[in-house]
């Protein structure tokens, strides 16, 4: 039962923000479990935001809009084959980067 599989990074919601030992900290709620976390890397964070936490540090904020979009694409599962067709049709020439 190894606690902290060191690559874990879990999403949680910021409950409050405070300062300790000159460091910006926050209380983050992970589905009912609350932990104090260093917020130094997210200077813009606000209470209510979701963050990804890794080894005691919030390393990024979760973008709610993108999350919503992603979930919606998973909901409409018909899109894939069409998309593939389209891509195949476009052929090799369009080997560029996606926005």
């Amino acid at each position: 039962m190894t606690v902290t599989n060191m690559c874990l990074a879990v999403p949680g919601q910021v409950e409050s923000l405070f300062c300790e030992n000159e460091t910006s900290m926050g209380r983050v709620n992970f589905g009912g479990v609350v932990k104090e976390v260093c917020m130094a890397f997210l200077p813009e964070i606000k209470v209510g935001d979701y963050v990804i936490v890794h080894v005691g540090f919030a390393i990024n904020q979760i973008d709610e809009e993108s999350a919503q979009e992603t979930l919606e694409t998973f909901a409409e599962l018909g899109w894939l084959e069409d998309e593939l067709e389209e891509l195949r049709a476009n052929g090799e020439e369009a080997n560029g980067e996606e926005a």
Partner: protein, 364 residues
Amino acid sequence: MKHLTEYRDGEKSLKLAEQISRICTRPWSIMEVCGGQTHSIIRNGIDQILPDSIEMIHGPGCPVCVTPISVIDKALQMAARPEVIFCSFGDMLRVPGTSEDLFRVKGSGGDVRIVYSPLDAVKLARENPNREVVFLAIGFETTAPANAMAVKIAKQQSIYNFSVLVSHVLVPPAIEAIMDSPENRVQAFLAAGHVCSVMGYHQYHEIAEKYAVPIVVTGFEPLDLLDGIRRTVMQLETGKSHVENAFPRVVSEAGNEAAQATIAEVFEPTDRDWRGIGMIPQSGWRLNSDFSDFDAERRFDVKHVAEAASTICRAGEVLRGAIKPHQCAAFGKQCTPRNPLGATMVSSEGACAAYYNYGRFLNR
């Protein structure tokens, strides 16, 4: 948990897998770089629902697995010193060095402590001014900001009984090393979402282009992984090779710039040995000269022990994706999590351990 459970839906996972099957016309070999992804793939049986034509190759993205024996041997020597409180993430304690592991050093009287954050180690140093607190700072780009911040705080607060044994590694040079290897079979990469959440993914464009290899930034939950694989297969099937972001809720092109700034303030690039792989130029970080006072290697006179190359363990090949764990003759026989011969059998993110724990007797 919001932002977690939604991405574990079994039905949708199966539908996504089914669609991948449908678009897949040829065999493809895709490497997930990150050990966390390996763990998730095996634990959730993602590999079992993918079409047979897709082979997931498990990359060298487990920080525990790639930390070289020489670093572990140094850690063991430091941890055995009576004045030292040696702090490490729990995973590292059972990784074998040349002749011991940290657990055994602890058993023989070394003060070895498991911490859950590098800040815990700083706190220990603050509370034990008469002891030397050494933190084993390993990890990929995800962990680097935390470790860098710990050193920065120690300096700011003049906590000079704190030091770090640094062995940080970087993903992009590892991807290049894999692509440069003559035995390479990898045709596309799932880039590690958390690494990119810190570093962004702008640096991958050059690689995708240079090697004509699709790179898809991917998350860790079943749906995330399947979406990443789907996008990869789409590129492969359509002959594309660009960088794509399948994890936009967490990852941006630029990454976390505050975190990057802290890394840049504390660390500098360096050549790094990867366990089982060998030296990769400019593939790691070390403390820069501003912070060299906190370098445990400078503070403690530790011997460099010659690395004994294992004659059985094929972890190097596993890490490079050349073989699967169960293709190693020792797998599940001489080598088990109880008795690991290589680091990949220790960490639950190591490919060998993941196979052993979640799938050793299952048909695949």
